[in-house]
């Protein structure tokens, strides 16, 4: 069972990223559960999306010991990284998380900056993060995730999103 948590602030597109990841897992014949939790804010505020992937039916639907936590804001790190599994991995956005926690295995990537600098808009940060996650965890293959992304995003944005995915995949 793989337990992943994608956290950040409302509007960063992490729920979409979580959905795509779960769909990719299903495309590979696995079971997947995706859930989320958020506050009253439509934008901003801490929010998280969780994905569990397994070979058999998943009963308890929330992540208990996340093997990987992606945190796209400082608030998200503070709120959602404490229960990271022993030996688990914390992936952070370098610029948006100025104070990373101590004593954790951390991968820091300037995800949002990559998006603005390479693709001209912040908008693709979630897909970049997805590429990164897939590369690091290997939960699904690159091809699968490509298909899953293409399937979900608006048709006229497919190319840009493919670019984003690769930027993330190649970021480490």
């Amino acid at each position: 069972m793989k337990q992943l948590r994608l956290s950040g602030s409302g509007g960063q597109g992490l729920i979409t990223a979580g959905i795509i990841l779960a769909e990719a897992a299903i495309a590979e014949g696995k079971e997947a559960v995706q859930s989320q939790s958020y506050g009253p804010e439509a934008r901003g505020g801490a929010s998280k999306a969780e994905v569990i992937i397994d070979d058999k039916f998943i009963y308890h639907p929330k992540v208990v010991n996340p093997g990987v936590v992606l945190a796209m804001t400082q608030q998200a790190v503070d709120k959602y990284s404490a229960d990271l599994a022993e030996g688990g991995l914390l992936i952070i956005d370098t610029d948006l998380v100025p104070n990373p926690p101590q004593g954790k295995k951390i991968i820091s990537v300037p995800i949002t900056k990559l998006s603005t600098e390479k693709l001209g808009r912040e908008l693709f940060a979630n897909i970049i993060a997805l590429g990164l996650l897939v590369k690091i965890t290997g939960v699904v293959s690159l091809d699968t995730i490509k298909a899953a992304v293409a399937n979900r995003v608006p048709p006229h944005t497919v190319d840009k999103n493919m670019e984003a995915l690769l930027i993330g995949y190649q970021a480490i």
């Binding site: 959905i19 779960a22 769909e23 299903i26 696995k30 079971e31 997947a32 559960v33 995706q34 859930s35 989320q36 939790s37 958020y38 506050g39 009253p40 998943i58 009963y59 308890h60 639907p61 929330k62 208990v64």
Partner: protein
């Protein structure tokens, strides 16, 4: 059978209703039920159906009742505050015997509470929320696929018994996405709108019960010119102040459901053959409970589980049997302890009933339930 798909509980609920023939939805947005409305706003017109957003939850309830009388299968969806507002007209649907389905995706209450967090706090309200006496059918799914199935069942029961049926979703199941494989259309059993079996000339009265105690009032516009009222009425449909008629009217409402109680009491038993204690559970909480129980069994602990899909009418018999053979029943609920009261009543002192309430916006963890199981096992071992 369709392709496996990632799907949300709310979406599955909407699609289930659609598959069961719902062609009219009236609603008012409220978190965490809104996806049901949004889904149907998109889908219904594609199949010639009607979606309307009303000015509030009361109007939403009213509009679906009007549409149902005019022959459509109908659904509305809401959450706590809106469910409270709908109560008066749920009672209307009960006494006027208008088929309708109300999906209530529970969130933390009372009042505005915690709008985006899960709870199972409307379980008793589903039974007792409206004034006066009438029975209620309420079904609570525990998986996304079952949200689809329960929606189909709810529509079928509403039509078959001409009664309001409540789908008690919780935010956990409503908002989570999981892999589902939906049944093919021809695998879905559908109960069609009941029709008059004779003409006015042959003595048809719209509220004369058939053998199953359910009447066949004609759809509006079909030439029967019937009268429908929320006042106590006789078989003709017209109000009557007679004590005898009043008794008949209220009694039949209850008996038409009572007489099929066993048939519509859906539940699962897991590991119950030799269970010393059992977890009794429903909805999203049942998922976590199952994880804990399965784990306990793997460790050789004699724990069973009863998962109720039918919340109302209450599964007295099932619980009585379990109470007779188990040393304790553990009842985790995402509320202050609601259905446990019914379980206590049904257990009637035969066994220990332990309430395990949680109402802090977080769902149970498998560990919490495992812990409670272990403690209970050690207590009953004494």
């Amino acid at each position: 059978m369709s392709q496996p798909k990632l799907m949300q509980g709310n979406e599955a609920c909407a699609l289930g209703a659609l598959a069961a023939g719902v062609r009219f939805f009236g609603g008012y947005p409220i978190t965490p039920s809104t996806e049901i409305a949004e889904q149907l706003a998109e889908q219904l017109p594609k199949v010639g159906g009607t979606f309307i957003q009303m000015e509030d939850e009361i109007a939403s309830m009213a509009v679906i009742l009007g549409a149902s009388l005019a022959g459509k299968k109908v659904l509305t969806a809401t959450s706590g505050p809106g469910f409270s507002l709908k109560q008066e007209l749920i009672g209307y649907a009960a006494i006027a015997e208008i088929p309708c389905v109300i999906a209530n995706v529970q969130r933390v209450g009372p009042s505005t509470g915690q709008p985006t967090s899960p709870a199972q706090g409307d379980v008793m309200q589903a039974r007792w929320g409206t004034h006066g006496d009438h029975p209620m059918i309420a079904l609570s799914p525990w998986t996304v696929r079952e949200s689809f199935d329960v929606a189909v069942k709810a529509v079928n029961y509403a039509e078959r018994f001409r009664t309001p049926v409540i789908i008690l979703l919780d935010e956990v199941v409503g908002h989570m996405r999981e892999k589902v494989v939906l049944p093919a259309d021809n695998e879905i059993e559908i109960y069609s709108r009941r029709q008059p079996t004779k003409s006015r000339e042959e003595g048809y009265q719209p509220f004369t019960p058939e053998a199953d105690l359910v009447p066949n009032p004609a759809d509006f516009g079909t030439g029967y010119r019937i009268h429908v009222t929320g006042l106590v009425h006789d078989d003709t449909g017209f109000p009557s102040g007679s004590p005898k008629i009043t008794e008949q009217c209220i009694k039949r409402l209850h008996e038409k459901i009572d007489c099929v109680k066993d048939e519509i009491t859906h539940y699962d038993e897991f590991f119950m053959e030799d269970a010393e204690i059992a977890v009794v559970t429903y909805g999203g909480t049942a998922r976590t409970a199952y994880a804990a129980v399965e784990e306990a069994r793997a460790q050789g602990k004699k724990v069973g589980m009863i998962r109720l899909m039918t919340i109302w009418p209450f599964a007295d018999k099932v619980i009585k049997q379990a109470a007779a053979k188990c040393k304790a029943l553990l009842v985790p609920e995402m509320n202050y302890g609601q259905l446990v009261m019914e379980i206590e009543r049904a257990a009637a002192g035969q066994t220990k009933v332990v309430s395990m309430p949680k109402y802090n916006t977080e769902i149970f963890t498998p560990n919490e339930i495992s812990g409670a199981i272990d403690q209970l096992l050690s207590e009953v071992a004494k």
